[in-house]
Subunit: 324 residues, 2 copies
């Protein structure tokens, strides 16, 4: 029941992703037209603007919480939702729970850069982070890049305000030290300017900076192409040129289209969760379901568990993250 386009779009996307290996289950109210897909009944709905923690506590039988519970209970291998992101995070923590040793899960987003894809995390699961969290994010990103992006030895970089080790804020200075001392393939800091140029396979940052950066990237691409269109259509000559470059512009849009990936993983849980954009099209939903399936196939959760158990940090017991 999440997603701005209504359940029909979600069902259509799930149907599109169905294959011999992928069997979507729909979670929603009784009577929902699932086009023949299995239905798990969940009478309640969490709206996009509800307060995450309260909504999740108050509506255990909402489609969102029930879908997460299906993973926690072993009924399903992964959950995909285009609903309230904060509620999804809270429901995942409650129903799927964190892997041992993980203090904070992270949202891992694929950045469709010019020369291939890279992964940015945390893209907004936690607004505040500690240096130890950033080290864990680097491990999570390494697993993601190997299993999902097919990079054998992923290169990790830390998002900061200069390439030199001594440039950054308190958080990145500490994280830089931890990363440099780790066995990760850490190659130093990266700056915002390289994000669309694929400066690294994995870009590590706190959820505040990551979320600002991601939205800035998306917004700038949209605004810039829009501004170019305005300039082009301002003159007859430009209009003709615009017609001629239309296929090129379409190819570029496709290269940079977030729908290609469909969604972002929430990493650090005992099960697989994919968060899709609220306004996901059926194509985006289908890709999100395929992304989830790929994660199951490649046992992303198992590999994360191995890595994170090996590298559990002596930073005290995990605290409860605040969904944002």
């Amino acid at each position: 029941m999440g997603g701005d386009r209504g359940p029909e779009e979600i069902v259509a996307g799930a149907l599109e992703a169905r294959s011999d290996e992928v069997v979507p289950i729909v979670v929603g109210p009784a009577g929902l037209d699932t086009q023949g897909l299995e239905l798990i009944e969940a009478p309640d709905v969490i709206a996009m603007d509800e307060k995450p923690t309260e909504a999740v506590r108050g509506k255990p039988n909402s489609s969102l919480v029930r879908a997460c519970r299906a993973v926690g209970d072993g009924e399903a291998n992964a959950v995909v939702s285009a609903g309230n992101t904060g509620a999804m995070l809270a429901a995942c923590l409650l129903e799927i729970r964190r892997l041992q040793g993980v203090r904070r899960p992270a949202i891992a987003v694929t950045i469709p850069s010019r020369d291939g894809a890279s992964v940015l995390l945390d893209a907004g699961a936690n607004a505040d982070a500690r240096a130890e969290d950033l080290l864990q994010f680097a491990h999570m990103g390494t697993v993601f890049a190997r299993e999902i992006l097919d990079v054998a030895e992923p290169e990790i970089r830390l998002l900061s305000i200069g390439e030199e080790a001594e440039k950054g804020n308190q958080l990145t200075l500490e994280a830089h030290e931890l990363l440099a001392a780790s066995d990760l393939n850490f190659t130093g800091n990266t700056e915002g300017r390289d994000l669309l140029r694929r400066g690294a396979d994995v870009v590590v940052t706190d959820g505040f900076t990551g979320n600002v950066a991601l939205k800035l990237l998306e917004g700038t691409i949209g605004n810039l192409l829009e501004a170019l269109r305005e300039e082009i259509t301002a003159t007859p000559r430009g209009k003709l040129g615009g017609l001629l470059i239309r296929p090129a512009a379409r190819r570029l849009r496709k290269r940079l289209d977030p729908d290609t990936y469909g969604g972002a993983y929430l990493l650090g849980l005992r099960g697989l969760a994919v968060i899709a954009h609220g306004n996901s099209s059926r194509r985006a939903i289908a890709n999100a379901v395929r992304l989830a399936a790929r994660g199951v196939e490649h046992d992303v959760v198992g590999r994360l568990a191995e890595r994170l158990t090996d590298t559990v940090l002596e930073s005290g017991p995990p605290t409860t993250p605040t969904p944002t």
Copy 2:
């Protein structure tokens, strides 16, 4: 002696900006060809990669430090430099000093957005900030928007990860409260996606986030236009279209050209300082000198002093900022 293109470019820019009202003074080694402009002799040079604080302490007679001292001593009304940004910040703190009540100066950058200009600060003077600093940045940005961007009642927004007041990290949550309680025209949070759409006249953020955002914005514009060019030139049809849209693309580039503003103010000092890009062209330098002159004409420092004295915060004595 700062700037990647050598002193000739700086002198040429200064000459271009010279007028009845604007009298550039060049600071550099004896014998420098100043094309008839007054020369203040300074034998030493601070390189782009020197450690700021050490360089400034060790080279009091470098062109950079000497130029700042000219403002501190009243020989000049403003200083413009395309040199080492960290050294410039350190030299300004040493030679021009902070206004009373200012804990941290801020770099105020004009963002050439689609529908006019807005100002973002801090763009990187301090990597770490407190909520009180962000409140001061908002006051500084208000003065900037009034005097430089000609906006009578500047609208202030706080860069965060959601428009709702309760979205953000610890820093922005606290800053949001301070801003909402102030007499500023604060209209809430803004997200990264609106930066190029001029979501506000003044966008307030800490120097780490601001610097990441600014570089991301610049890099994304560059990378995207480059990627579009690649797609366009991949086919004969696209090439023809590319020729036809060339004037439109040029207009867009001009609208978004950072050289239009030439530099960024370092605000919060007892004198006016403008930091130009290291690779500034003579046109950028000329615009930076004009920007400095406009700040003097509009008494930006005086207006800042009034505002900040009125709103001095009970946050203890100022501490020494760390240049980044």
